[in-house]
């Protein structure tokens, strides 16, 4: 099924078209054949299945080497745009989630133990002929320019060879005419293409996300691939155009699934900024000081993170770490079980730092959530870094950093309900957790509509620091479906504000059935805020100003800010 590569394409030749036609004909024939009965049975609900998240809990990979280790994550794969609960007949998966999915808006506090989850969420039994597969809301494909499948979010790559060849035919057809295909739109479906040398990436989505948003996600998918393999994988294609790259990514399914899941919950995926764990300035300084100390002794980057949040990061002189690299690195580490079980020393590439070369990452988890990553260019640095880690650990224990981190993880989030009524009356250094305590008595009336003036949520990005902070979701956006919808709305707003030809714009007000959204971009910051759709404009503007003031008052706690940040 894999066509030979065409080093000297003749665009006027009708052959590519004939080839594409033949493949498409083959596809439609396959689609027409009788489906196995199990597809027919659950066909009715797959339309409601939220593919967006599906699979992130699945660490089982092609190689079957990984296991699920997502204890900290909530059971949010089940929501999405679901209208009805999935049928229990759906590959045994839905049944385990119980039957009252939509009746209970609260996420389950304690998801099923990993080993109880079915084999995986890739739905390996599916292929392009399955109606279930066709109805998935968001597909991601990576393939080679000879049409060989490298990765597919759903279905078995081997079974998708024909489909992959069709994608290749479409892309190559346009490439051969000296052009590059960007996207195809058909009703609510959008097919977005990204060509990176010999590697093609495709997203087929009906999630109503913007082209820019989906393209950005493909860029991150490619970045994740580079993080694992570096760009020098291109040389394999130069030597052998029919090179089969899939085996090189064996066992990394969970990494891609986790990244795809992040597209619907992690604003860092579109903001190109990272977020920090709120900490008292002195606590963070203690952590930064020891990281700085370590960095001075030959480490390129030293990061201390709690889940996806940065506690502190330090780079050697003149070396800067791009927020996208932090995102991809954290995703790689957090989605690979092996990093959690032992100290690891692993080659990784930071695509924004240097896509061609491997660095070596020493990773150690101090507890379930908190881990240090030390990056070096030296492949023989394991024992040195192990010693450095021990030094870091010592300081963290002595300075009581780890318990503070644990406390912050559970308590320090920003809540819109805590927005100071009059910012001037609030102490500038008041940590968020205490302000929450103060206002907790009066919350009940506000909770129904969110924060003051109908404020539901906000994200504040410091342009200068490449960092953002976002508030917790209020009870009015308590379930995952609502939260994901809000993130999609933010993504659209971001794309609209950062239009390539005319942006960035200064302000935007947007009101639809679901929200009032505000965006405000200055040289220093970007504010994205969501209000109840009936919110009053004047009041909402006041709230935005107040949020900015609030964030500025707290910046020493919520951003990595100060000597350590300035040193790189």
């Amino acid at each position: 099924m894999d066509p030979p590569p065409n080093p000297n394409p003749n665009p006027t030749d009708a052959q590519p078209q004939a080839e594409a036609g033949a493949r498409l004909a083959a596809l439609s024939l396959r689609g027409g054949r009788d489906l196995p009965p199990d597809f027919e049975i659950h066909e009715h609900h797959l339309d409601d299945d939220d593919d967006d998240d599906e699979g992130y809990l699945t660490a089982a990979s092609r190689g079957g080497s990984s296991t699920c280790a997502w204890k900290g994550l909530r059971d949010d794969d089940r929501d999405g745009d679901d209208v009805s609960p999935p049928s229990p007949s759906s590959s045994g998966y839905a049944g385990e989630r119980g039957s009252s999915l939509d009746d209970d808006p609260e996420p389950e506090p304690d998801p099923e133990p990993a080993q109880d989850w079915p084999r995986d969420k890739k739905h390996l039994d599916e292929d392009d002929a399955s109606s279930s597969w066709r109805k998935r809301k968001k597909h991601f494909f990576i393939l080679s320019n000879s049409g060989k499948p490298i990765y597919s979010r759903y279905g078995d790559e081997h079974k998708l060879a024909g489909f992959s060849a069709t994608l290749q035919a479409i892309i190559s057809f346009v490439e051969n005419s000296g052009d590059h295909i960007k996207f195809v739109r058909s009703g609510k479906h959008q097919i977005v293409f990204l060509v990176k040398g010999p590697i093609y990436l495709v997203c087929i989505s009906c999630t109503e996300e913007s082209y820019e948003g989906l393209r950005g996600q493909l860029e991150l998918m490619y970045g994740q691939l580079l993080l694992i393999l570096t760009k020098s994988v291109n040389r394999c294609f130069e030597k052998n155009p029919k090179f089969d790259m899939a085996p090189l990514l064996g066992g990394t399914d969970a990494v891609f699934l986790s990244l795809i899941h992040a597209f619907s919950w992690n604003p860092a995926t579109f903001l190109h900024a990272y977020t920090c764990l709120p900490l008292a300035q002195s606590t963070r300084q203690a952590a930064s000081a020891v990281l700085q100390d370590v960095a001075d002794s030959g480490v390129l980057f030293a990061l201390l993170m709690c889940e996806h949040k940065v506690i502190s990061l330090v780079g050697a002189q003149k070396a800067t770490l791009h927020p996208d690299d932090i995102l991809l690195l954290a995703n790689f580490i957090l989605s690979s079980e092996s990093f959690r079980t032992s100290e690891s020393f692993s080659p990784i590439c930071l695509p924004r730092y240097n896509p061609m070369a491997f660095l070596y990452a020493y990773v150690h988890f101090f507890d379930e959530h908190t881990f240090a990553t030390l990056l070096t260019t030296r492949s023989d640095a394991f024992y040195d870094l192990k010693d450095s880690r021990a030094r870091i650990q010592n300081v963290l224990l002595k300075s009581n950093v780890l318990p503070e981190v644990q406390r912050s993880l559970h308590e320090s989030a920003l809540h819109v309900e805590d927005l100071p009524i009059d910012p001037s009356s609030q102490s500038a250094s008041q940590p968020p957790q205490s302000s929450r305590d103060m206002s907790s008595q009066s919350l009940s009336s506000e909770m129904a509509i969110g924060g003051p003036a109908g404020l539901w949520h906000f994200i504040y990005k410091s342009v200068y620091l490449d960092q953002y902070v976002s508030s917790e979701f209020p009870s009015s956006i308590s379930n995952q479906k609502q939260q994901k919808r809000l993130y999609k709305a933010y993504q659209k707003l971001y794309a609209s504000m950062h239009d390539k030809a005319t942006g960035p714009h200064k302000t935007q007000f947007r009101r639809d059935e679901d929200y009032v959204l505000f965006c405000w971009i200055t040289q220093d910051f970007e504010l994205y805020a969501a209000f109840n759709p009936l919110a009053d404009k004047t009041q909402a503007i006041k709230m935005c100003n107040r949020v900015c003031q609030w964030v500025r008052d707290l910046e020493n706690e919520i951003f990595v800010y100060g000597e350590s940040a300035l040193s790189w």
């Binding site: 052009d179 058909s186 097919i191 109503e208 200064k506």
Partner: protein, 492 residues
């Protein structure tokens, strides 16, 4: 190299193809019903249509119920419109390196829709023509002459130029109405009644235009739109005076004679070219008729055009009468005439006898109240109002829109594109209910670009010299809405 080579000379390609034809290998050429430019090598034509067909088939894997709308690549946009089941029209437009070729997919699709609607009005559905003559010679002949004449309106120099971001305060596929005071409205009403009774016992339909604006219609909205579009393209006094610079969105400033479509038009039914420029001229009797010298080669007496009105489900003869700025389109049901030309002559006579005075009066009163091309200019605002249900729009005069900065227009174009997507999302989720939507953007160059949809009606705006605060923009919309839209877009 590639199919781009063919387009390079013209900047665009337009093709019509039928997916039910040419299904055997080697017969792919039979799918093509029309291709512009006609001199594009066959292999390139096949290549364009091959990609289009491939994508149509491919997208149906995921959305079998929905049509492919666009293929966007770095160098061109290919916009799709399934005009009739399995009959597709595709417009391929090349991008230039600057931002000048920034357009809106919906605006380009509007061209295809308009071309097809007009074609159907004159020749009936393409499928019917194909069924009537399976060799497709008839359909191809009509499409070739009709679409070539239609495209001539988009010629600028040697290139085809389609609406860009500079046209984002225009809406193709809508009617622009003249606002008439009550007293004149009664006169118009009375004139319409007289026109309706020209045939005696069978009622004639009519459209009355003043300049390029619609004054009254007795046809249903879709039929009105088609006939109005045709009138503004070819029949109003402006359209007739070939060198007039038009301010209507329907006509471009330059008028280029399409010339004979192609010398290879053998096999077509010569003559029926309703869109051929300068085909019509006004006679001494006030009726506008096909011009002998300019058109027919066969020497036959040109016949009164007969049109098919889809919504009214009737074929009707079209008589055009013009008095100064007033154009009257009188439609006589074909079924009511036994002898075509005699019957039409009789109706014309009746019309002159009974309606002449009223026509003069109406024209005088309308002229007296007419504020000229800038009649609907609102100082400080650049706007477009659309009522999609009534297919009506009103906009700032193009001369005023051109004063907007390029960045403002680009931002507005981008906003309209977003709104188009939101609208289709709403239509899919709940086709029965209009959803309200509002966006105000303060752009980099300090312009407010605004879109507001309220109860199905749409308002787009660019305010360049406005204040900095969002409240300024809101107040501006509120004022405009209260003063010019009967409060349709007001908050309360």
């Amino acid at each position: 190299m590639g199919f781009s080579a063919a387009a390079a000379g013209d900047g665009a390609q337009l093709c019509v193809f039928d997916l039910r034809r040419g299904q055997q290998e080697g017969q792919e050429l039979d799918k093509i019903l029309f291709f512009h430019p006609a001199d594009c090598p066959i292999l390139l034509q096949l290549s364009v249509i091959g990609l289009c067909e491939g994508i149509v088939t491919f997208t149906r894997i995921f959305s079998p119920e929905e049509d492919c709308e666009v293929i966007e690549s770095e160098k061109r946009s290919q916009v799709f419109y399934q005009a009739e089941p399995d009959i597709w029209m595709v417009l391929v437009v090349e991008k230039t390196k600057d931002n000048e070729s920034t357009w809106r997919c919906g605006a380009l699709q509007g061209i295809l829709k308009e071309a097809h609607s007009l074609f159907t009005m004159f020749h009936g559905p393409i499928r019917t023509l194909l069924d009537r003559q399976p060799s497709a010679e008839l359909a191809r002949g009509h499409l070739r002459t009709f679409l070539t004449d239609y495209l001539s309106d988009f010629h600028v120099g040697k290139k085809l130029q389609f609406p860009t971001y500079r046209d984002s305060l225009k809406e193709r596929g809508t009617i622009q109405m003249l606002t008439v005071p009550r007293e004149v409205a009664l006169e118009v009403q009375s004139l319409t009644t007289v026109l309706g009774s020209c045939l005696g016992n069978v009622t004639c339909q009519s459209l009355i235009l003043f300049e390029d604006l619609l004054v009254s219609t007795t046809l249903p909205p879709d039929d009105t739109l088609n006939l109005y579009t045709y009138a503004v393209l070819r029949l109003t006094p402006r359209a007739l005076s070939s060198n007039a610079s038009s301010w209507s969105y329907l006509r471009k400033g330059t008028s280029v004679n399409a010339g004979p479509t192609s010398s290879s038009s053998n096999g077509t039914t010569a003559g029926e070219r309703p869109l051929l420029r300068e085909k019509f001229s006004k006679g001494k009797d006030g009726f506008v008729a096909p011009d002998f010298a300019a058109t027919e080669v066969c020497g036959a007496v040109p016949l009164t055009p007969i049109l098919w009105f889809q919504q009214a489900e009737e074929r009707m003869y079209l008589c055009i009468y013009q008095h100064k700025s007033l154009t009257i389109l009188l439609l006589i049901p074909a079924s009511s005439l036994i002898n075509r030309e005699e019957g039409i002559a009789h109706v014309k006579k009746q019309m002159l006898e009974n309606a002449s005075q009223k026509i003069v009066t109406v024209e005088q009163k309308l002229t007296r109240g007419w504020g000229g091309e800038n009649a609907y200019h609102v100082s400080g605002y650049r706007y477009l109002l659309v009522d999609p249900d009534r297919r009506v729009s009103r906009a700032s005069p193009p001369g005023k829109v051109t004063t907007l900065a390029k960045d403002s227009l680009l931002a507005l174009n981008r906003l309209r594109q977003e709104v188009d997507l939101e609208k289709s999302r709403y239509r899919r989720s709940d086709p029965c209910h209009d959803k309200d939507f509002e966006v105000c953007i303060r752009t980099k160059n300090n312009t407010w670009v605004i879109a507001k949809i309220t109860r199905g009606r749409e308002l787009y705006m660019a305010l360049e010299k406005g204040g900095e605060t969002l409240l300024y923009a809101s107040t501006a919309v509120e004022k405009f809405s209260n003063r010019y839209c009967e409060g349709a877009f007001s908050t309360d």
